[in-house]
Every structure is written in structure tokens, then in C-alpha cells.
């Protein structure tokens, strides 16, 4: 025992002498070789200079940008819907959401902070900078560069448009900033008014030469985990159409929208040719997306296992999805980020923070369906006094009104129970053919093509220009329009008509027809204003909760210089939602003063 203790003591004494020597040695070595040692690149992290070497790195950067962009899904839906009149807070909603809904957002509210948008924007700018370097160093072929550069550039512009819509005056930053807080430095980046911002975005976007989707066969247009990636990326022509529509350049806007409407008009003449983005029928419930009853006249036979509802549930790889949706991004259990929509909307497995407003419910209830078609055995039975799209956009689950569009991949529509409680799958719905047609019609209407606009959202082009005889040559078309963007050929001679026609647009049926709703009645005293109001109303009925309501209202209010267009609708929502009448009036007063924007509070 004693010996052991002795050894311990002596060894510790040795240590005492070694330590200072070692330390000194280390210090000397490090002093002498400081610069060279630190220049060694880390082995477990990717250095910025090594990030962009091949086209695959460029692809990874694009995917990375979109990965970050998906994080804005929740914010996108809340800002665009909760601030408008169709989405309302539930009892579970916190103060921040209530402020958003009642237009009383204070400085401490996280939704007043535009930083999440700028984080993606600055990333976009950084990627764009490096893409240029890659092209200059011949690491990217020119075509590869053009495709990827354009995609990121347009996504960046899309974000700026969103910022403008919600914050009004915003700094327009196109540099790749080292420090993101420079965004808030007014000396470096003065804030542009919304109108100037749109001008800047138009001039930047039009300067980008490539405006198509990624070509088939490129690495970014493939199928991953059953998801065709081409629907993930922004449609550049749609954004250009939007920018021109906001600007009030209606012919330009129509041109760009029209280009997208003709996406399917290529190759073999088949169902896709006639129906993709054309709102055309294809005699297939998974593709047509009608509101229909398996026996017309019997409301208990509303088709829910295919047709209109299924577009929100069907897989992204299905043909019906491909022909309907222009832009949608999946939330899958197998990859990040987590789906925010179950949390927002679902009372089962989620927090149920928002619900359809009474105003939205009333909008669907104030429509009238078409009578059933008379047959040899049954006369026409009058249609139900509501729009069945409402029943498929929201429903009562355990007595609570629930927005269903985002939940059909999570909650089984027939049982109202989750398919799998923990697998919270969904899609972020950004844009589809009905948005496209409604906005094209909005532009066409303002460009003096009111009848064409009316046809697109009611009973189709053919329905707007009906033929009195079986010779349809001079009807069912707008080919005499001097502007090519407005020239449509929807001629359909039927089987017996002479001459025989099956024109490109002959299957176009119109949005309200597809939803089995009677035509919108136009007030002839102000047909342009009346059709425009009808178009915005239709957008609510068809595309409600899909994140376009606030921009739709704002765009028209600004165009007409009529703040009541937006203020009265928000007032009605608040009045019906249990907010005090004083608070509802206060929101109305604020919006009537054109105080439409969130405070810009950088944090």
C-alpha cells in the first residue's frame, strides 16, 4: 500500500515539470506556422469555394433554395388568407394570428418581421452570383446556366411580389449580402414603393432570357420519391403575367398567361392536348375535376371519390394532377420540412388554429347549381341552392368547421379519421389552371374582351360565342381579334355539322360550368366592373384557401382606387366572427384609409 502511494506522488511531480514545456512547444509551433496551418480547408464541411464546381452542384443549390422556400408555406397561406375574408381564427389561435386577422398587427408580432422572406432572397442572390461565376469559369454550359439562373431569379421576384403585397414599401436587394441585417440599412437599400417595386421586378424578370420549364431529361425535371419535380419550380410566365397584371398592362399580362394556357398544345393531339391548362374535359373523373352527381338531381350522390375534390388528394404523378396544377410542392413524411398545414387546419393531430369564416361559408351557400340534364325518362330536376365546392373545400368534423383542401392526404374523406396520425402529408398548392384562366380573364376583361372573359369563367369560349346553326365556322371563336393573345378557336361542329371542326379549345367548358354552377349574371350598366367582381368572386369559390384571396382583393381595390372593395369584405368577416363591432369597424376604417400593409419591423 505504502509503495503504491509513493509512486503516485512521484509521477504527479513529473507531470508538473512536463506541462509548461509542452505548452511552450505548442505555442512556438503555432506562432511560427500560423498562416499556413489555418489555410487548410476543413475536412468535414464544404467550403464556399468548393460548393459550385459542376452542374450537379448548381442543381443542389437550386434544390437548396426551394428547400428553404418551402419553409415559407405556412406564412404564405396565413398572410394571403387570414388577412382577407375567407379564413378566420379558431378559439385556439394565439394573439399573433388574431392580430393578423383583425388588421391590428403590432411591432412585436412575428408576422410583421419580413426577415424569413429576405433570408430566402439573400440566398437566391448568393446563388445567382455564383452561377455567373460558374459560367464565367466554364463550369456551367450556357444553356445550363440560363435554365438555373432563370429559375432562381424568378423565385426571387416572386418573393419580392409577396413582400410588396404585404409590406408595401420594401428594400429591393439584389446583392448577395454577407450580413443579412444590411437589408434594413436604409442608406444602402432605400425602400421602394409597391409600384416602383413592380417596375423593377418587371425590368429584371424580362431581362432574364430563359422563361420555360426545365427541359425533360435534365436533372431537375425527373421523378423523385414518386414526385415529378417539374411542378415544384415556379412557372416564370405566370409570374410575368402576374407582374403585368399588377402593373395594369393587360395585353402583356394576357400574352404571358396565354403562353402557359397553351402548354399542352404540343405533340400528339390527344386528351392532354385538349385539356391540359385549358379547362377541357376528358371524360375521366380523375382528370375532369367536375362537380357532379352520380345521379343528377340526387344531392346525396355528390361524387367525392374522384372529380373536383380529388385534385387535392390525387398523387402528384397522376395525369389529373399534371393537367390541373401548374405549381405545387409536396410535404412528405420522408423528407423535411415538416408539413405545417396539419398544425394549422386539422382538429385531429393538429392545433386547429384557423377555420373557414362565416363569410366564406355564406359565399358558397349563395350560389345556385344547374338543374340536372333532362333525359328521356326524367325531366330536369332543379339544382341545389348552393355551390358544392364549399362542401368539398371545408366540412364539419366533430362539429367544428375545418378547411379540408390541405388535409385530404392526411384525413380520410369518408371516415374523417387520419390515414395515419403520424404521417402528416400534404401539398402546398400555389397555382393551377383555374388561377390561370381567371387572371387571363381579368386581363382580357380590362383589355376590352369582356365576352371572352365571361366565357372563360362561365360556360367556356364556345358558350360565350354560341352558334345559331350547325355551321359553326363564324362562331365559337375569336380569331378575328387583332391581338394574337386573345385569339381562341373553340369551334366544335359536332358529329353532323358541316364543315367539320374540332378546334384546339373545343373542350374548354368554363370554370362555373365545371363546378355545375349557373352562369354569372352581368350587370349591363357596368359590364367590365361587374365581370371583374364576378371573376374575383369566382376565384374565392374555386380557389378559396389556396393563398390568393388577399392579393386578388388588393389588386382590384388598387386598380379601381376603391378601398371599400377590400375593407367591406374584411369588415363582414370580422363582424360575423365574434370580434367586437368596434374592432370590426376599426379594421374597416384602417383599410378604407388604404392602410393595407403590415408594419415592416426588422428583427
Amino acid at each position: 500500500m505504502k509503495k503504491n502511494k509513493l509512486t503516485i506522488y512521484s509521477s504527479s511531480m513529473k507531470m508538473f515539470f512536463i506541462k509548461p514545456i509542452t505548452l511552450m512547444a505548442i505555442a512556438m509551433v503555432s506562432l511560427a506556422s500560423c498562416s499556413k496551418i489555418l489555410d487548410v480547408k476543413p475536412e468535414d464541411e464544404l467550403d464556399e469555394s468548393d460548393m459550385y464546381r459542376t452542374v450537379y452542384d448548381a442543381d443542389a443549390a437550386v434544390i437548396g433554395i426551394y428547400g428553404k422556400f418551402v419553409g415559407l408555406a405556412e406564412r404564405y397561406v396565413l398572410l394571403n388568407e387570414l388577412r382577407a375574408d375567407m379564413l378566420d381564427c379558431t378559439l385556439n389561435a394565439d394573439e399573433n394570428l388574431r392580430q393578423l386577422s383583425s388588421h391590428t398587427v403590432t411591432e412585436g408580432n412575428p408576422y410583421a418581421n419580413p426577415r424569413p422572406f429576405y433570408e430566402v432572397i439573400i440566398n437566391c442572390n448568393d446563388v445567382l452570383k455564383h452561377f455567373k461565376i460558374m459560367r464565367d469559369q466554364n463550369k456551367l454550359k450556357d444553356a445550363e446556366f440560363q435554365q438555373r439562373y432563370a429559375d432562381v431569379a424568378f423565385l426571387c421576384s416572386f418573393l419580392y411580389l409577396q413582400l410588396g403585397i404585404h409590406y408595401g414599401e420594401v428594400p429591393y436587394v439584389t446583392d448577395a449580402l454577407e450580413n443579412i441585417n444590411d437589408v434594413n440599412d436604409a442608406s444602402k437599400f432605400p425602400r421602394l414603393s409597391f409600384n416602383t417595386l413592380i417596375d423593377s421586378l418587371i425590368s429584371f424578370s424580362t431581362s432574364v432570357t430563359y422563361k420555360d420549364e426545365y427541359p425533360t431529361g435534365t436533372n431537375l425535371n425527373v421523378t423523385v420519391d414518386g414526385y415529378p419535380t417539374n411542378k415544384w419550380f415556379i412557372n416564370k410566365k405566370v409570374l410575368l403575367g402576374d407582374l403585368y397584371l399588377w402593373k395594369g398592362n393587360y395585353v402583356e399580362a394576357a400574352k404571358w398567361y396565354r403562353a402557359v394556357m397553351e402548354t399542352g398544345t404540343v405533340g400528339t393531339v390527344n386528351g392532354s392536348y385538349y385539356s391540359m391548362y385549358k379547362l377541357g374535359w376528358d371524360s375521366n373523373g380523375d382528370i375532369d375535376h367536375y362537380i357532379t352527381y352520380s345521379r343528377g338531381g340526387d344531392v346525396s350522390t355528390l361524387v367525392t371519390t374522384s372529380q373536383w375534390r380529388i385534385m387535392f388528394e390525387q398523387t402528384m404523378s397522376s395525369e389529373g394532377f399534371r393537367r390541373e396544377w401548374v405549381w405545387a410542392i409536396p410535404f412528405d413524411d420522408n423528407f423535411k420540412p415538416e408539413n405545417p398545414f396539419v398544425k394549422l387546419f386539422s382538429p385531429i393531430g393538429g392545433s386547429y388554429l384557423v377555420q373557414p369564416s362565416q363569410t366564406a361559408i355564406d359565399m358558397w351557400n349563395n350560389e345556385q347549381q344547374k338543374p340536372s340534364a333532362a333525359t328521356n325518362t326524367v325531366p330536369a330536376i332543379p339544382g341545389a341552392p348552393y355551390d358544392a365546392r364549399g362542401q368539398l373545400s371545408w366540412k364539419f368534423i366533430n362539429g367544428q368547421p375545418v378547411v379540408m383542401k390541405y388535409l385530404y392526404n392526411y384525413i380520410n374523406n369518408s371516415t374523417n379519421l387520419p390515414l395515419n396520425v403520424l404521417q402528416k402529408e400534404s401539398k402546398w398548392f400555389l397555382f393551377r389552371q383555374t388561377h390561370l384562366h381567371l387572371r387571363f380573364a381579368e386581363a382580357a376583361n380590362r383589355a376590352g374582351r369582356s365576352r371572352l372573359a365571361w366565357g372563360l369563367f362561365n360556360s367556356g369560349i364556345g358558350g360565350a360565342f354560341p352558334a345559331p346553326t350547325s355551321n359553326v365556322t363564324e362562331y365559337q371563336n375569336t380569331l378575328k381579334d387583332p391581338e394574337p393573345a386573345f385569339q381562341f378557336d373553340a369551334r366544335n361542329s359536332g358529329n353532323s355539322g358541316v364543315p367539320y371542326y374540332r378546334a384546339d379549345w373545343y373542350r374548354n367548358i368554363g370554370i362555373r360550368s365545371r363546378a355545375n354552377i349557373v352562369d354569372y349574371l352581368v350587370n349591363s350598366a357596368d359590364s367590365i366592373g361587374s365581370i371583374e367582381t364576378g371573376l374575383i368572386n369566382e376565384s374565392a369559390l374555386e380557389d378559396g384557401f389556396e393563398g390568393t384571396r388577399w392579393p386578388d382583393l388588393l389588386r382590384v381595390a388598387m386598380r379601381r382606387n376603391d378601398p371599400s372593395f377590400i375593407a367591406d369584405k374584411v369588415y363582414n368577416k370580422l363582424k360575423n366572427s365574434g370580434v367586437s363591432s368596434g374592432a370590426a369597424s376599426e379594421a374597416r376604417r384602417k383599410l378604407m384609409n388604404k392602410d393595407w400593409y403590415l408594419p415592416f419591423v426588422w428583427k
Partner: protein, 486 residues
Amino acid sequence: MNYKKDIMRKRVYTILFAGALASIGLTGCKKWDDHNAITDDSLTSTLFDKISTDTSLSRFAELLSKSGYDKLLASSKTYTVYAPDNAALAGLDAAIVNDTAKLNKFIGNHICNQAYLTSTTSATQRIAMVNGKYHNIFGTTIENVDIKRADLRAKNGVLQVINKMLPALNNSWETLSTNSAIPSAQKNYLLSLFMNVYDTSNAIQTGVNPTTGAPIYQAGTDSVMTNRFWRNVYNLNDESKQYTLFVLVDTAWNSETKKFSPYFTSVDSISTASIAQWHIVKDFAFEGVYTQADLPDTLLSKSNVKVPIDRSSIVQSITTSNGIVYIMNKMAVPLANKLQQFVIQGENYSGTSVDKRSNTYFRDRYDTLTKRDFRDVLVYGHGVSSFAINYRISDVPSMSYKAYWVALNDFQTASFTQKLAFGVPTSTALAYTTVSPNIYSEVYIGEVKVDSFKNTLNVYLVGAANTTAATNPLVCDYIRLEPYFK
């Protein structure tokens, strides 16, 4: 080799340190005791200690000891004791004191589980006492008794001193069946409603049926004795709730029976009276306590009948442990209140004469008169002569009714006919009625007489006696049968 010195030094330090610690501990001991000591005397004694040392509660303490509840109050569970003082107990009936069962019931009526402070009962609370009864407490009152000295704390609960005793009353059902003041006719009727009902919640399983796998229960344990009134109206035996019950004196009971008997005619006079009496008595109990002062002039019964209450007709009122029983010399419910209309929704049918689901249309329509949406049923092109939709209504009094329907013919311009049939679809009591286009209002169909009381009555909507689609459709929003008093 100086490590030995080192060790020595260490030992010295250790001893010194230990000594220092010990001295701190010694000097601090007293202070900690002071800090932790129970200085509030009330927390050192149990509820029973507290009661027995209080001279004004000596009588109650005596009774506690006699009943054995003293041990309960000396235990470690938490109680609230509402202790009547000696003056309050002076009038206690010797019969209670001398009967152990009665005494236990009486004393148990003053003790409840859990601690209830007067300061925290700002809303009326109904609390369970250890004898199974309940009392309402609110602030410094329990039932109608004031708490004179409130919230006296003890180790195992709270003591409230009251200046009146809380007698253990019978509940409403016990009162009904045992109180001699209760008139016999209605009481006998209610007591005749006892029946044995299959209920396995307390059954003893003795085996398993080898063929079906169903459990076999010991005879007599698989059922419970219950009363139809408890099951279909209110269980007046339930101490946790409170009820108001009205009992008619025999003459009034008999005259009401006589008044309603024509509407419940059955195979013989005994059955008729029995059915009539059930329909009288089912509207005589109400949830909640209505004291004489706050009895409204009309009460709405569980089966939605408006019952007029005339306070001047009260003969006697008996307070019970779960409510109040009024003996009335008159309580005449008007015929129109008791015999109500039937509204049959067209789309809620129970069958059709032939399966024609593929010709049946459930429609949502907008009523231009009521400005509301409604759902109706249309059967078109069924190709069946005299096609019939069957509805069932239950508990139908024997009397005349005026029949109406809303039948919206908005699907063709031609009129067609349909009719109502009662009992069997071939009944011709009511003639075919024309359904003209676009009539949203009620249409009078005719008068129908139901001869005897029906537990279930079949009502048929019958189409025209031909197979032509345009002339034999059936359409119906609702059918309404309005009682008709001649």
C-alpha cells in the same frame, strides 16, 4: 520521506474540520426546530379533538362518540364537519339518539369528504355527505342553515359550526313511497311501474355457453329492478341531483285520467287508463328545485309539454333530501299542450313498397317563403302503380288530425297526384290530392281519425295508381299532422 508528516497533518485537519461542522450543527439545531415547529395549535389537533374540546359542541361530540364517527374524524383523511351547537341539538328526537341506524344516518349527514371553505364556495355546490346524501353549500350557508363560526381548521379538515341541525330527510322517491301524506292513486300508479331489466353490470358469471361462447350468469344477478319512471323521466332516487315532483290528490288524478282517457283508447278500460296515466304522470317531474316562492306559472317538461302551475292549488309541500314534492288538488294540463302535432320529414322514410333507390332523388331546395334551404325527397320514373313511401310515427293518441304536406313540384309543369294513407297503403280514407307546380306552402290534405292509441303508426305517401312517369311521381318536404279538437 515526509509523507508521514503529510498524513498526520491531514488527520489533524480532518479532526478540526469535523469539530467545526459539529459545533455548527449543535448551535443551529435549536433554530431549525423553532423554524419547523408547528406553532398553530389548530394544526396539531384532529377534528374530533377540536370538537370535543369545544364546550359549545359537547353534545355533538357525545353523539359522535356514540355513533362511532369519532374514529372517522380522528383519522388522517380530510373532512368538513358541519357541527350543530348544543342549543341546536337540544330539540333532537330521542328516537334518533336511541336507534343506532338512525343516529348514524343523522350524524353522517353533517360530515362530508374533502375540505370545503366558505371563502371558496362562491357558486352553489352540491356536496356528497358520508351518509350518501347531498347538501347544497353556498358561501356561509349549507341548505338553509347559517354557518356561525366558519373555516375552523384542524389537522384533518375544516370545522364549520352551525346553529341548526341538518336532519337526514328521505329523498323524493322514498317520500313518495313511504310518506303517509302522499295521495294513494298516483303513488300506486307510479309504484306499479317497477320491472326487472336485464343488466349484467353486477352479474356473477358462472360459466360460458359451450356453443355460443356467451357468458352464463348466476340466476337472479343478471337483472335489476327498476322503475319505468326512473328510466324514461327522472330517477327520483338519485341523491346527487334535485327534482320537483307534483302529486295529485286522488280526485284530481281521477278526473285527469278521465279527461285524457279518450285519447289513449286501448283494448280495455284498464289498459286505456294505464296509458293515459303514463302520459299524465310523465309531465309531473322537473329537474331542479322550485320552491313555492319561485314556482313559475308554467314549466316545460322533459317531453316538451307546457305544464301550467297554479300555486293556489298546492295542498302541501314536502322538502326531501333531493328536492321537493308538492301535493296538488288541481293540475290541469290543457289538451292542446299534451297532444302535440307530428311533423314527418319526407326524406326520413323507413321504407318503400319496392326498392326504387335509383329513381329516388334527395334534393336540397330553397324555400322562397321561409327563405331557408330544405331537403326533400322525389321519386320519379319508378314505374310502379301506387308506389308507396312508408313513414313511422310513435305514441299516437287516438283522435282526429288535420293532415298537411309541403310537396314542391318544380321539376315539371304538369300537375300530378299523390295521397296519404294511414295504417295500410291501400287505405282510402284520404283521397288523392293534386300537386300543382311550384307551390312552396303547406297544402291541406284532409282529416284523418286514429281510432285507438298506437305505439307505432304507419303513414304512407302513395303515388298515383298508374305507371306513367309524369303522373305518378312522389315528392315531399314534410307531412304535418295537427291534432283536431272538435
